[in-house]
Structure formats: structure tokens, C-alpha cells
């Protein structure tokens, strides 16, 4: 939700040859708003990885379509999902809405996803961007951002989403480094205005997982060790439906072979600023009571069987009565993004506190840059504390690897 006009300025420099994707374009972009928009979109697609995950694209496109159709909007937007842009979402005139996949990790419900998208739709609908030669004035941009926040509440209501999701979305995004920009009103102001608009009919966001698919989100938690190395545990948090019995039974598999490194490297490169200071989130492996399986675990088995080819195996870790933590080999996280749909919820502090590391990856600091060799060591079994195996690993505490008898 950043300065789209700045993107346009970048795009003018990027405006190149006469054809792109089959469209014939004049050899000068500066005086043609459509060409500027084309060049902006091109620059984004060239410089930012585009996510083609069909389930995720369907999910996000479906939310946009619902917002448009139920509110009778005249815009007919296209949607692009990216991974690693500077903004959680953006709008490029006349009809493109961009959405960064990483923001899913911060959001708790489809309603919050709809809140972000509704904000961008307002920018397109109201023609906030794309006027030739217009002064890039902070006051004007802040006005447009506040209008987008406020009108988005109305769009949420019109589409049957909970208006209060605008509030919780703003709170979630403001925790991250996508916040605070002079072209946007201060976060407190945005929250205050949204709160006023939702006060009389806030609605209730839904967390139900999508039919047939277990919902959750991908996160990675990183701890900085004393020698500057990073300890990374990629995992997925999954939601159980609220009416599920509070059982801890689950199906467990043994840990598979050592993982590949590419995805982890990319996480380091793109997420260095984000990951610093995050505490380790850890999971516990345990055995199920014999013969006890829940509907969710059975569903999960079917999903795993469908998406993961043998002999790779996965450990499912129970984190609490409402969540499962699924720790995967890193390459499989890409496939699992296809399953990130409704029912997203962050683990609570209490739930996080109950779990321990199962598999950790140790990355020496000197080789954590994008151009160096990354040496890694995988601890198959972690002993968090010599005297107390049940004690949790906490921030700053060293770990050691060993073998379990």
C-alpha cells in the first residue's frame, strides 16, 4: 500500500521495447497513462517473483470477485500474487491488484485478507493513481489512504465479511515492517477511523477451514545465537475446526532425510529484516494413543498422501487443542502453500510455550549472505537441556545436537 506513483516513476525508466506480452506499445511511455501502468506492472513482474500456485490464486481471486460483485463495483480487476514485494498489497491502474503471499502469515481469517484487498479495490475504483503529472503530495496520498481504509469497511460489509476485520488487519500489518510511511496516515489514526466505522456493526470473522482442505499458514521462526548464527525452524500451523474434540491423538511418521537448502536460502535473503529478533517456536513429537484418530488427522493424512510422494515423510506435532504444527522438509513448504486457505490463526503464546524443537537447522553467520556458501548441519535429535529434557529452549540459550538412545 505504498506509493504507487513512485512505482510509476520507476516504470518510466523500465519502459523498453515496443512489444510486451503481445501488446503493441508506443516507444514513449511518459505521456500515456496506460503505457505507464503497463510498464509498472512489467517492472513488478520482472523484479518480484510471481506466485502461480493455482489454489492460492483461486482463493485470492475469489475474494476479489466477491467484493466486486456483491458491492456492484464497476472495476473488473486482475489479480497477481507476488512473493517479496515492498508492500503487502498494491494497486496499479486501471485494473491490477497485487497481493504479497507473505502477508498471509500475519492474517487470521479470510475476512482480513478481504480487508486488504478491499482497500486496494478502492484505490482502483476511485481512480487514486495514474494521473499524468500530478504532484506526489503527502497530504493527498494520506487522504487517499484514509479513504481507502474507510470505504473498504463498507465494501467488507457489502460482501458479507466482518467489518471488524479491517481493524484487526491494520493491527496485524502494523506489527510488521510494512508499516509507517509518510504517504500513509499514522497507524493510530488509521485504527481510530476504522474503529469508528465498525463500532455499530463489527461482525464476526470466520475461521473455518475450507471444505476438503486443512487450513493453516507457513511461518518460519528464527533465533539469533550468540555467535550471530541463525537457527531456523520452518513449520506450518494448521487449524482444527472449533467443534473438534480436544484430543491430542494424531498420526505420526518418522523424520525424513536431510532437506534441501534452496528455500531456506531464499528465506534468509528476503526475510533478513523480518526474521531478526523472532523467538524460536518449537514443537513436540509424541505418539498417539492406539486406535484413536480424529477427523482432521484423517483428512490430513489424505492430503499428505496426495501431496507428498513417498519416501518423504512428515512429522505432525500437536501443539494444543485447536492447532497442529506440521514440521516439514523445506522443499515441501512450497507445495503446502497451496493449502493455505481459510481458518488462519496464529499460535497463542501459551501454545508456543508448550512445544520443543524437533528438527533445527543451524546456519553459521559468516555464510548467511546471498552470495556465500551456506553450510548447514541438521540436528536429527535435539537435547535442549542436559538436566531437564522437558525444559524449553529459550532465546539466547545454546543448543546441542546428539543422538537419542
Amino acid at each position: 500500500m505504498r506509493r504507487e506513483l513512485a512505482l510509476i516513476a520507476v516504470a518510466v525508466a523500465a519502459c523498453g521495447g515496443p512489444r510486451f506480452l503481445g501488446a503493441r506499445i508506443g516507444d514513449r511511455c511518459e505521456t500515456q497513462p496506460r503505457c505507464i501502468a503497463w510498464a509498472t506492472e512489467r517492472a513488478i513482474r520482472v523484479n518480484t517473483p510471481v506466485v502461480s500456485d493455482p489454489a492460492l490464486v483461486r482463493y485470492v481471486t475469489g475474494i476479489v470477485a466477491r467484493l466486486v460483485e456483491r458491492n456492484g463495483l464497476r472495476v473488473r480487476p486482475r489479480v497477481v500474487i507476488v512473493d517479496g514485494s515492498e508492500s503487502a498489497a498494491f494497486a496499479i491502474p486501471p485494473d491490477l491488484v497485487g497481493f504479497d503471499r507473505r502477508i498471509l502469515a500475519r492474517l487470521d481469517s479470510e475476512d482480513e485478507v478481504a480487508a486488504i484487498l478491499a482497500h486496494e479495490l478502492v484505490h482502483l475504483e476511485a481512480g487514486h493513481v495514474g494521473w499524468l503529472g500530478e504532484e506526489d503530495d503527502d497530504v493527498g496520498m494520506r487522504d487517499r489512504e484514509s479513504v481507502a481504509d474507510e470505504r473498504a469497511v463498507a465494501l467488507l460489509r457489502g460482501a458479507g465479511y466482518a467489518p471488524i476485520a479491517m481493524l484487526s488487519m491494520l493491527e496485524a500489518v502494523s506489527r510488521d515492517d510494512w508499516g509507517n510511511d509518510p504517504s500513509h496516515p499514522p497507524w493510530v489514526h488509521r485504527l481510530a477511523r476504522a474503529a469508528v466505522l465498525v463500532a455499530d456493526a463489527p461482525g464476526t470473522p470466520r475461521h473455518e477451514p475450507h471444505r476438503g482442505i486443512v487450513g493453516g499458514r507457513v511461518v518460519e521462526h528464527v533465533r539469533l545465537l550468540d555467535d550471530g548464527a541463525r537457527l531456523i525452524t520452518p513449520y506450518i500451523v494448521l487449524d482444527k475446526p472449533r467443534d473438534l474434540e480436544r484430543r491430542t491423538a494424531f498420526a505420526a511418521w518418522t523424520v525424513g532425510p536431510a532437506v534441501g537448502d534452496l528455500l531456506v536460502d531464499r528465506l534468509l535473503e528476503r526475510r533478513e529484516r523480518r526474521v531478526a529478533g523472532l523467538r524460536v517456536v518449537i514443537g513436540r513429537m509424541s505418539q498417539p494413543p492406539a486406535g484413536v484418530r480424529t477427523a482432521v488427522e484423517a483428512q490430513l493424512e489424505r492430503v499428505i498422501a496426495r501431496w507428498l510422494a513417498p519416501p518423504e515423510q512428515t512429522v505432525i506435532v500437536v501443539r494444543g487443542p485447536r492447532d497442529l504444527v506440521l514440521e516439514l522438509d523445506a522443499p515441501h513448504i512450497g507445495r503446502w502453500t497451496e493449502l493455505l486457505l481459510a481458518g488462519l490463526r496464529a499460535p497463542t503464546a501459551a501454545e508456543r510455550a508448550r512445544i520443543q524443537p524437533l528438527r533445527l537447522r543451524y546456519v553459521p553467520a559468516a555464510s548467511s549472505g546471498p552470495y556465500g556458501e551456506v553450510a548447514r548441519r541438521t540436528c536429527a535429535h535435539v537435547i535442549p537441556h542436559a538436566d531437564d529434557p522437558e525444559r524449553l529452549v529459550t532465546r539466547g540459550e545454546p543448543i546441542r545436537c546428539g543422538t537419542r538412545d
Binding site: V147, E171, H189, A195, L197, R230, G369
Partner: protein
């Protein structure tokens, strides 16, 4: 209890369509001691507590912590003013008032925010232009008088820059509804164009480039200020490419003939000096000789944006393999007697953040 001030939270714009709220009234506005009335007599008294009313619960704590008037302090006029300004800046209240009650030990201060209404609907009459969509986009939002006025002015400016030099736009607010009315008026044909001050690039060449950029016949075409400005910027880039770093092209106010519906344009070119690169200075991380060479070769040549960009691109391709980012700029303090110093800055990428 003393009600001391109702401050209209209108924002700085002046309204041409007043709605019963004096938007001009000094919101910019520094409540004067007279305006603050009786609170002026309470200055210097101890404050026992400060309460906010009309601020949503979700932001009450962060807003309260930012207040200048605090329990335990003495009441100060400047702090009251600062608080009124900052609460009005939330833009959730149609006015902000301060009340002071005598309590045991001093004063109980209450800031009371009267809520803004909501614009359920926006109706637009007499205007068929895409720019007006920005006013329609106010529907569903807060009835924020200052923002409505700023938006009105912005849309009006867009209309005029699009060639509707006589456009009018009026905004009126009724409870829950914003009514927009106006007219686009006529557009004006360009009858003639005069280009003054051009020598390095001939006036006829500038005119030819303008025609090519704008894409229509310049003479007898519709005058669109935004399009003209964008085109002039493109021609300025041409001057930059030729070393004229200070070149400016300005479209002066056109001579308008309402009877004939025409304008006469006058473009003034100030070319300034033509610069050459005296030397290239390297700072930051060291660059190897092979990487430095394309930029070093620029020394002594006429400054050309294209040449600098080309050399920079060449250097960057090699530098990225070494984990280096390279930027180049002209240091304005080095511009003298037609010469500049090109400063090349190199830094390493991929350094982990400090914990």
C-alpha cells in the same frame, strides 16, 4: 464544569461550500487565550486526571500516552493547544472540546470528541469525467469536511489539467450524503506555440518532439496542461542527456481567448551551462580496476545521463557477483564552471542485521 472550546476539525483547506461549519476558522488554528476562555484562568493549576471521551477503545491507550497535558503536571496553555491539535488530527471528530472540572487536589481535564457522521451516499450531477470517481470514492467513509474539500480541489485541478480550464465543482453535505455538482465547460484549441530561449536544441526540434510525445497535432489540438508538462519533462531529459544539468522548460500561463476558444502557448527554455565530468570519485567499498574502468573513462567527457547510466549498468553487472551495490550521482556542491564530479558509491549487500 467549564466548556472552553469547540474546535472545528476541518483541516487547512478553505471551503467554497460551507456547511454551517466555519472551516476557515482558525483550525490552523491556534486557540487564542480569548478563545480558550475560562481555561486561561486555570493555567498553572495542578492536573489531577485526564480523560478522553469519543476516542475508540482500541486506540485510547496510545492516544492518551501522546497527550501533552498529564496528571501530576501543572496545566499549560501550549500543552492544551498541542493536545487539541493532535486530537483533531485523528480526523474522527467534528469538533474537539476541553472541559476542566474542579476536583480535590486540582483539575480533572476531559477532552471530548464529538463524532463525525458517515457519508452513506455520494451523488454526482453534471459531470462525466473519470476524475470525479475520486469524489464518489468518499461514500461509506467519515464526513470529514477538510478531506472533502481537499478532494474537491484535487479533482478540480485534475479537470483543469485535463484541458477543462473552466471546470466548476461544488460540494454540499447533507446528513449522510455528499452532493457534487458542477460542469466541465469547454476545452481550448492550441492556436500557436512560441518557444523561447532554445539554442542547443532548435525550437523547431522541440516542437517536433512535443508533437511526437503528445501524439496529436500540436496546433489545433486540445490544450491539456498535464500532457504538456509531461512532454516538457521528456524534452528536459534530452537536455540532461546532452550535459545541460540545469536545463528547465516551463510552460508559462497561456493566453486564453474565450471568444474563439483558443490558447496561445509560450514555452520558455533555460538551458544553463553544459557540464563535463571533471573527475570520478569512488567511495565506500573498494571496486576492482576492471569494474572501475567504464566509469573512469567518463572523466573529461560531456556529462550525459545516458552515458553514465550505460557505464553504471555495465559496472553493476559485474559488481553484483561480488555482492556489491553501486550508485552514482553528481554532487551539487562540485558544480562549478561547467564541470562536475561524478561520485560513485559502493556498498556490500547481504550483511545480516544486528540482533
Amino acid at each position: 464544569m467549564l466548556v472552553v472550546l469547540g474546535l472545528a476539525a476541518c483541516g487547512p483547506a478553505r471551503s467554497t461550500s460551507p456547511r454551517g461549519v466555519a472551516c476557515d476558522a482558525a483550525f490552523e488554528g491556534e486557540p487564542t487565550p480569548e478563545g480558550l476562555g475560562s481555561v486561561a484562568t486555570l493555567i498553572g493549576r495542578p492536573v489531577v486526571r485526564v480523560t478522553l471521551e469519543g476516542v475508540p477503545e482500541v486506540v485510547r491507550a496510545p492516544v492518551t500516552t501522546k497527550l501533552a497535558v498529564r496528571a501530576g503536571d501543572l496545566l499549560e496553555l501550549e500543552e492544551v493547544r498541542a493536545d487539541l491539535r493532535s486530537l483533531a488530527a485523528l480526523e474522527i471528530a467534528r469538533d474537539v472540546a476541553i472541559e476542566a472540572d474542579e476536583v480535590e487536589g486540582g483539575l480533572a481535564i476531559t477532552y471530548r470528541l464529538a463524532p463525525m457522521g458517515r457519508l452513506e451516499r455520494v451523488t454526482i450531477d453534471g459531470l462525466d469525467h473519470p476524475a470525479v470517481a475520486e469524489l464518489a470514492g468518499l461514500a461509506g467513509g467519515l464526513d470529514n469536511a477538510g478531506r472533502i474539500e481537499r478532494t474537491r480541489l484535487r479533482v478540480l485541478e485534475r479537470l483543469r489539467r485535463d484541458g477543462y480550464l473552466d471546470a466548476t465543482l461544488v460540494a454540499r453535505v447533507r446528513p449522510g450524503q455528499l452532493c457534487i455538482a458542477g460542469s466541465l465547460g469547454r476545452t481550448y484549441r492550441i492556436e500557436r506555440i512560441a518557444i523561447e530561449g532554445a539554442t542547443a536544441i532548435a525550437a523547431t526540434e522541440i516542437e517536433r518532439r512535443l508533437v511526437r510525445r503528445i501524439g496529436v497535432n500540436l496546433i489545433n489540438g486540445v490544450h491539456q496542461p498535464a500532457l504538456l508538462e509531461a512532454s516538457l519533462q521528456g524534452i528536459r531529459d534530452e537536455y540532461l542527456a546532452r550535459g545541460f544539468l540545469d536545463a528547465r522548460l516551463e510552460a508559462r500561463r497561456p493566453a486564453i481567448d474565450p471568444a474563439r476558444g483558443t490558447v496561445a502557448l509560450r514555452i520558455v527554455v533555460t538551458e544553463g551551462e553544459r557540464y563535463s565530468i571533471a573527475r570520478v570519485a569512488f567511495t565506500g567499498e573498494p571496486l576492482g580496476p576492471a569494474l572501475r574502468r567504464p566509469l573512469e573513462r567518463l572523466a573529461g567527457s560531456t556529462y550525459s545521463v545516458r552515458a553514465v547510466q550505460g557505464a553504471l549498468d555495465q559496472v553493476r553487472r559485474g559488481a553484483v557477483d561480488e555482492g556489491l551495490l553501486v550508485e552514482a550521482r553528481v554532487h551539487s556542491s562540485t558544480k562549478a564552471r561547467g564541470q562536475v564530479v561524478l561520485v560513485v558509491e559502493t556498498r556490500a549487500v547481504g550483511r545480516p542485521d544486528a540482533p
